[in-house]
Symmetry: C2
Subunit: 205 residues, 2 copies
């Protein structure tokens, strides 16, 4: 009997370093990555089917109509969504999946998968976030300001997440999240088979 995998959502302010942390979690501990569908153009080095499923707007709309997405959002000028079949297949195979998506998407996932684990990452302070976004140098100030404004809007949803992790050191952050996932997998709500076995065995003692 293979145990169903755990679905972990990792969200965070733009510039919180969540992309790097997620990559390290996959590399060091073998977590599976959910791949989002998006209409955003591929950045240099991004590969279709690895970093994202890159879709035209027409293709994306068809996926919505077919209930093929657990959640989707329009963020700035692009659509992002989580393919339902892809996630379910991996969970059924017992794989622990990490889903790196923004907050509103994370809350929609939680509505669909009650036992999903929600982790929110933040830089140590708002000023550090600002510095990181500007330092990255990949976006103009208009886009950066949109991201900062978005961050301020997102603060109201943090309460709905399970853990708030301050990313001030990559290794600490990766280790902490790995420990959280391993512990959370042991919660009773995620172990119905064990619970039922013990209940049956002991109720007839």
């Amino acid at each position: 009997m293979s145990k169903r995998g755990l679905l972990t959502v990792i969200s965070g302010f733009s510039g919180s370093g969540k992309g790097t942390v997620v990559n390290e979690l996959v590399k060091r501990y073998g977590y599976s990555l959910s791949i989002s569908a998006t209409t955003r153009k591929a950045r240099e080095g991004e590969i279709d089917g690895v970093h994202y499923f890159f879709k035209t707007e027409k293709e994306f709309m068809d996926m919505i109509d077919d209930h093929g997405l657990i959640e989707w959002v329009k963020y700035i000028d692009n659509y992002y969504g989580t393919p339902r079949n892809y996630v379910n297949e991996m969970l059924d195979q017992g794989k622990d999946i990490i889903l790196e998506i923004e907050m509103q998407g994370g809350l929609k996932v939680k509505a669909n998968y009650k036992d999903a684990l929600l982790i929110f990452m933040t830089p140590p302070s708002a000023s550090v976030l600002k510095e990181r976004l500007i330092g990255r140098g990949t976006e103009d100030m208009t886009t950066i300001n949109k991201r900062l404004h978005r961050a301020s809007e997102e603060t109201v949803y943090i309460d709905s997440y399970d853990y708030l992790i301050v990313n001030d050191n990559l290794d600490d952050c990766v280790n902490t999240i790995n420990r959280i996932i391993n512990v959370e997998k042991q919660r009773i709500v995620r172990n119905n088979d064990l619970l039922n076995y013990i209940k049956n065995d002991f109720s007839n003692i």
Copy 2:
């Protein structure tokens, strides 16, 4: 600003080895132990104010009347209760407390302390439990049968606990529970100060 401690309730079937595990958690990791009040007679080696606060029935009833107990139960022929002041003082000092009590008591603690962590320990199987109780040799078969009957009744409450830990190896069990406590302390619901700091800092970015 000292962070409030975490209150962890550890319950388990008689014979689950919870006493040994709790002692090791205190010894290895420095957790504080909550001391129960009880009307049960001290067993050999048990010290008043260390293992229990041993009380007469009259003294115990007075504590109930004064709302001095978070929870109390009559178990077999004795009363057991958790002194409220003692627990609150330790939590205020930032100490992580372990409370080793039976299930119904644990649920009453949860009703009073919403962010308490509830861990239930079980032997690997009902037959192992039976063997352990008989092997202990400290009780007659009537008492053992009462305990077994009690175990079967308790199974219905396991769902209300956060974690179900199978104790088939002392070291594994102690390490697992220590990891659980350390991770659970980081849940957002137990870190209002951090949450509020981040919300305020980022909402005015």
